[in-house]
Subunit: 380 residues, 2 copies
DNA sequence: AAGCAGTGGGAATGCGCTTTCCCGATACAG
DNA sequence: CTGTATCGGGAAAGCGCATTCCCACTGCTT
């Protein structure tokens, strides 16, 4: 038994389908009270549920918002997804989920699928990359997005613009001031730490990672410290863990050396200050250090970035940069709404590193906050 | 400029829309090679993307899978969502997400929305409840689901059947043996602990919680231990935290008492063994204890349930019951696939506590595993 | 050589709904 | 009292596609 149709409802109510449509779905024309009641009652008794596909086809709009993430089980994306979901609800739309693992090819595919479903807008979370092996994929993704926008779709990208997107109407960027925040973090850390800094970064070419690394180095420089060594690894927990293992060796070597040299208690001298470009990596690194018998912040300090919810119960409490993840999701989604706000990020483009297309699209200002916790406490 | 249509492609290729349709979308009839090439080329040059809405309308099927969770940012649901997403990909479908906070009324709404979109199947995660204030909502949810199934929809519920669902064709349950596993956990814990047990449970009437509590008590009884006291609280971290505060007081009182009585080192005598019905609550409780200056497992032991990914980096390592969350999501989704497996849970219905409708629907067997970790170690 | 199944393509119909467009009826001004 | 707006409802034309039916044609068989 297929679901009942509008026509059936209309027949039962003794009116035309047109009228039934007008009363059941918000139309400009409001039929008379008595008729409306009859129709509504008929619909009720039939358990009528409008066919959104047909509605969409007729109105050419679907009430769908497409969300693209790397991995929905990653707390970073999960938090953003929550925000998106919330905003979608405000707009009385549903969210269509696609997880891509970060591969541009799959992202392109997801965009195409969303376009096929005539999603009203698309939110892309997850950092862009300029790695050579992704070059082609990025170009195709950009082309797909452009086409989608040209056909009236609206897009919001979290973090960094899609490389090569020509920023047509309807293309928004929720810019995260990664660089500035990383610089601020470096500044604060530098004022409390006298050891050497090391950065655990993602693969070369990953914008989010690169921006944060660059910012951190700038902050260090501003504080008169020498640049940090950078370890490149995977942009996830496993990568952080791996780097942590290497760092553990390094730390042990330094400790031994230091002990030998001073034969005393000046072990703080060469203490390592680790900055992982995101929390998940920081957690991985911390786990590695712990397994190697090293303690934080005693043997090394460590800071992350994002302030994912998981951190709440992670010990030692991790210093990080608080990002309003949920809010980011909300803003991105709202930016794609028909009347969506679209204040362009005001102000200095800092080091002029925005290598977006001709135009980054409309931007949403986001503010983060450096949050120092136990993992970078030096005294006590 | 609206997206190009099949008709346009057909015209450009010099064929009829019918033919174009046949070559571009998997039809039984395969047009000639030359024609196919022409059509495909035309489609390419126009950047044709089939309108899934129209396809869905014509075929009356949407390629959509609806997923209902309480909160996508909760690691438990996120893990399940990942599995669902994966299985959806296998079926070349997309997942439509709805978060409801667990309110039956919102779940009903979500089901209706999915039905409107003609989702091919619906996966409902998140525990059912029989609380009186949800009574009505549950009934409506059940009715909505029934209707959806009657119209050919397929439903999979994770954990506990929806109360009152009359289990029509297409209604599946991925049964989690909460009770058995909780009993097993209790048994293992009882053999290593000599203190008193306390359970931090969710609100009365929440099936998942109640099943686990019941199972735990049974396990205790089987081990010859007296029943545990049960603290009822919210089924989330905040609830666990709250309960943890109370327990901290209790523990301190016992410690004082014990110290007075024996004036010695037999403090282990009255040590509390806490079982929280899920990991998130356990984490909340552990946080509360820590804040109160209590150490785990020294001052109290604690165990959770689910083995969410977050636990990996939580210290002390939390004893729990490992549930293959991702697999559960996958199985649930696969169960709703056209040819989906649907082996009925074989075997004993234990304490006859399955208060589902006339029939629980087809079931998927799930196995969990008691996992003891540091948080319940008594010696050392 | 005529009849046949088989093949490959096109015309037409319908999926369920929205939205003009149209028309009769009522209300109002002149 | 007639002419013109206005309102409330219905008929019909799509929205973009799949699919059934139909037809022209090929390559066989007997």
């Amino acid at each position: 038994m297929a679901a009942s149709t509008l026509t059936e409802v209309a027949r039962l109510a003794g009116v035309s389908p047109a009228t039934a449509s007008r009363v059941l779905n918000g139309s400009a024309r409001k039929p008379g009270q008595d008729i409306a009641d009859r129709v509504r009652q008929a619909a009720d008794s039939l358990g009528y549920i409008p066919n959104a596909q047909a509605q969409g086809l007729a109105k050419s709009s679907s009430g769908l918002i497409g969300l693209i993430v790397h991995d929905i089980a990653d707390p970073y994306f999960a938090a953003i997804a929550r925000g998106v979901q919330e905003a979608a609800r405000e707009q009385r739309k549903m969210v269509l989920l696609a997880t891509t693992g970060g591969a541009p090819a799959e992202e392109r595919e997801a965009v195409a699928a969303f376009a096929a479903r005539r999603a009203d807008s698309i939110v892309i979370a997850g950092s862009r990359s300029s790695q050579p092996e992704n070059q082609e994929g990025n170009a195709e993704l950009a082309a797909e997005l452009d086409r989608y926008c040209r056909n009236g779709g609206r897009v919001a990208v979290v973090g960094h613009p899609v490389v090569g997107a020509t920023a047509p109407e309807g293309y928004h960027v929720v810019a995260v001031p990664n660089q500035e925040l990383a610089a601020a973090l470096a500044g604060k850390l530098a004022s409390g730490q006298d050891g050497d800094f090391v950065i655990i970064g993602g693969p070369d070419g990953l914008f989010t990672s690169d921006d944060r690394i660059r910012g951190f180095q700038e902050g260090l420089a501003a504080a008169g410290r020498k640049p940090a060594e950078v370890l490149r690894t995977a942009f996830n927990r496993a990568g952080g863990y791996e780097a942590g293992l290497k760092l553990a060796d390094m730390i042990k070597a330094r400790q031994a050396e230091s002990r030998q040299a001073d034969s005393g208690e000046e072990a703080g001298r060469g203490k390592l200050c680790i900055f992982a470009v995101n929390d998940v990596m920081a957690i991985g690194a911390a786990a590695a250090l712990r397994e190697q018998g090293l303690r934080i912040p005693r043997d090394a300090t460590i800071a992350g970035f994002d302030d994912i919810e998981t951190l709440r119960d992670f010990r030692p409490a991790l210093s990080t940069v608080r990002l309003p993840l949920e809010e980011i999701g909300r803003l991105a989604t709202r930016a794609t709404a028909p009347g969506g706000a679209s204040a362009r990020e005001p102000g200095e483009n800092g080091s002029g590193s925005t290598e977006a297309g001709p135009d980054g699209g409309r931007q949403q200002p986001i503010t983060g906050e450096v949050t120092l916790r136990r993992s970078t406490e030096t005294t006590a």
